[in-house]
């Protein structure tokens, strides 16, 4: 449970308005290379072999970032 609370606190710290980058200021963030897991299929392919050779799982994040366009 405590991890969920930590996340909620983090979320509200950010929602409260610190460090807002305006949509028209995101030219560099719009670069596909600035996205996390821009090609999630390739990430899946990689995790495919890692998971059979290592004893850990999860915590690798999900697609996100970019310019928030659309």
């Amino acid at each position: 449970m405590k991890y969920i609370y930590i996340f909620l606190v983090l979320i509200f710290m950010t929602i409260s308005g610190c460090a807002v980058v305006q949509p028209w200021e995101r030219e560099r963030l719009a670069d596909p290379n600035m996205m996390f897991d821009e090609n999630p299929i390739q990430k899946g392919i990689k995790e495919h072999y890692i998971n059979i050779r290592e004893g850990s799982e999860g915590g690798t994040g999900s697609q996100g970032g970019g310019c928030g366009c659309g």
């Binding site: 305006q22 995101r26 030219e27 719009a30 310019c67 366009c69 659309g70």
Partner: protein, 164 residues
């Protein structure tokens, strides 16, 4: 129980507060210049239904949106419809390259606003953003981003406002 409360909060309460727009108010006036130096005022479009479109060459959905706006302009411009675009590219070379890539002539005016004063005044949520404004200069619809579903919506909205 606690998890349930948290989920209700995340899925229901937060999204309600996440969005607020000023539809129904008069569009804020501004003026700007095109690449050729022509001065444009928003008030020049009074009496027409317009789409005020904010875009940039780096915005991926804009590659879909701009050709569609050109299509709408060609279809409805003789019925009292127009498009006014505000481009926020810092480097005009990027804008030129974008237009070359989409391989289409843009028949409507594009205001260059590299300092992004107009979008700042409009407090945009995303790029692109399109404001559908009626003949009286009132914002009737706002499109945040450009999804495939927006095409049909734009058409319906223009036809509704033109018939008013």
């Amino acid at each position: 129980m606690e998890i349930k409360k948290i989920l209700i909060f995340i899925f229901i309460v937060i999204p309600i507060f996440a969005y607020s727009q000023d539809i129904g108010k008069e569009a804020r006036q501004f003026s700007g210049k095109t690449e050729s130096g022509e001065k444009i005022n928003l008030s020049d479009y009074r009496g027409k239904v317009i789409i005020l479109d904010f875009w940039a060459s780096w915005c991926k959905p804009c590659k879909e949106e701009i050709p569609y706006l050109i299509e709408l302009y060609n279809q409805y411009s003789d019925k009292g419809f127009s498009v006014l675009a505000v481009n926020v590219d810092k480097d005009i070379a990027n804008l030129r390259k974008f237009l070359l890539d989409i391989n289409k002539d843009v028949p409507y005016k594009i205001i260059l606003d590299p300092e992004a004063k107009i979008p700042s005044d409009y407090n945009l949520d995303s790029m692109p953003s399109a404001f559908v404004i009626d003949k009286n200069g009132v914002v009737k619809y706002i499109h945040i981003g450009f999804l495939s579903g927006d095409k049909e919506k734009f058409k319906n909205e223009i036809e509704t406002l033109l018939s008013e």
